[in-house]
């Protein structure tokens, strides 16, 4: 699973800003090729992101400048509480770390980066992106649970 939330600024004159988030899942073949105990966030996010299954966008995606991003990579089967705990722990270490900050916590790999203008408020920025990641993940799992329930599984 690869979830990313990114603050973007449109290149139009209006320079709209907002947070766009995407949830990708890895099919079984792709998943088998990865070591999910210690996932490589660089390779998964930048080369093997998986299949896009859900998104939540404030600004129409495509061609916008990315001002900050939060990437989360973990196995598709990881539950929300483990991801949330990893994100909390990541936040604690983010305050002291240079950007980009990358850490794997309990089999959840997290990466955060922001342009320098946003660095002084990096924790606030991280929290905004984290909220969007959590929202997308909960929504997807909720939808998945309903699907399973309706199919009688």
């Amino acid at each position: 699973m690869y979830i990313t939330a990114q603050r973007v600024r449109s290149s139009s004159l209006a320079a709209r800003q907002g947070v766009n988030a995407f949830l990708n899942l890895h099919d079984k073949a792709e998943a088998r090729a990865e070591n999910w105990d210690n996932p490589s966030i660089e390779r998964l996010a930048d080369a093997n992101p998986g299949i896009l299954v859900d998104q939540e966008c404030d600004v129409p995606p495509g061609g916008n400048s990315v001002r900050s991003f939060l990437d989360v990579v973990t196995a598709d089967t990881t539950d929300v509480s483990r991801v949330s705990a990893a994100l909390e722990a990541f936040e604690a270490s983010l305050a002291r770390a240079p950007l980009p900050h990358v850490e794997t916590i309990d089999r959840v790999a997290v990466r955060f980066n922001a342009e320098r203008a946003l660095e002084p408020e990096r924790i606030d920025e991280y929290r905004r992106l984290k909220a969007r990641v959590t929202l997308l993940l909960e929504r997807w799992l909720d939808r998945d649970a309903k699907k399973v329930a309706s199919s009688g599984g």
Binding site: T4, Q6, V8, N20, F22, N24, A45, D46, A47, N48, P49, G50, I51, L52, V53, D54, Q55, P60, P61, G62, G63, N64, S65, V66, R67, S68, F69, N113, A114, E115, R116, A117, P120
Partner: protein, 297 residues
């Protein structure tokens, strides 16, 4: 000598009767002066002497060119069409030199009606303290040209800055001289010294201070008459402190600059404004597709 041409007008600040070849720039009309020694206008403000000493001649000149709306040929009185400064549009042969370009850019920055007086005044300081002859002239003329009632408190600041540099030597390069052998380096030096002094004299006239209206004492006059440049500049260095003191002590000046001091520029809380981004753009990805959401710019 064209005492009543654009060459000798403070609105064309980077040229003089002996220096600044090629086209000039008129701050009065925002126009390029392709032939500054052939053009004039009714708003001419002579550089070489303070206005109160040449008032009668200037009134005559105004009357002579009253029928011309703007720039005119000094001999034929024909109107001269004004051309705006656009560096991109100028043919190579007509390119203006860097100092004139700086004046034109000053005009571009300062002439907009939305530019506050304080900012306009501070732009003048970009010409201050220069060791270049033409920039020294430009600074003196710009300070002199800003004397309107609304900006008197700013004028006060700028005139003190000009007095501070009145004895600063400047470099006259051969390319500054006009004609071929008509003017010498010494001519340029004395002309610019006069331009600086005329600015001080005009300010003295506005303040009503005789010491500033006629700042040359007998010793300084003798040095000027004998063309003793080094001694003249050294004497100016001795006198400039007295002139500044007179301006500070003037009751009229008190009234002019009794406004609150300007707010200082804010300190930065960050080491430097940083605008560089991550160098990434997002991508449009269709649901069901597999593609990284970002790419390098």
């Amino acid at each position: 000598m064209g005492l009543f041409t654009c060459r000798n007008c403070i609105h064309n600040p980077a040229q003089g009767l002996t220096f600044g070849p090629g086209p000039g720039f008129c701050l009065q009309w925002g126009a390029l002066l392709k032939q500054p020694d052939r053009t004039t206008c009714k708003y001419l403000h002579r550089k070489d002497l303070p206005h109160f000493l040449v008032r009668e001649a200037q009134v005559e000149h105004e009357a002579e060119f009253a029928a011309n709306r703007a720039l005119a040929d000094v001999e034929t009185h024909d109107d001269v069409p004004a051309s705006a400064f656009d560096d991109r549009a100028l043919p190579r042969a007509e390119r203006i030199d860097p100092v004139t370009r700086a004046v034109a850019n000053y005009y571009t920055l300062a002439a907009a009606p939305t530019v506050p007086l304080t900012r306009r005044s501070r732009l003048i300081t970009l010409f201050a303290g220069s060791r270049d002859a033409r920039r020294a002239s430009a600074h003196a003329c710009l300070v002199r040209g800003m004397g309107d009632p609304q900006s008197r408190h700013e004028w006060f600041r700028r005139i003190l800055g000009l007095i501070e540099e009145v004895d600063i030597e400047f470099v006259v390069s051969p390319s500054d001289l006009i004609g071929s052998g008509e003017a010498s380096k010494a001519d340029v030096q004395w002309e610019i010294a006069n331009i600086r002094l005329a600015a001080v004299q005009e300010y003295g006239w506005h303040l009503g201070r005789e010491e500033l209206k006629f700042p040359l004492n007998s010793e300084l006059e003798a040095l000027a008459a004998d063309q003793k440049w080094d001694g003249f500049m050294a004497k100016l260095g001795e006198l400039k402190g007295e002139w500044a003191d007179q301006i500070w002590a003037s009751p009229a000046a008190d009234a002019l600059h009794s406004r609150l001091p300007l707010k200082p520029a804010p300190l930065r809380s960050d080491p430097e404004p940083r605008f560089e981004g991550l160098g990434l753009r997002d991508r449009w990805v269709q649901k069901g597709a597999s593609s990284p959401p970002r790419e390098q710019n």
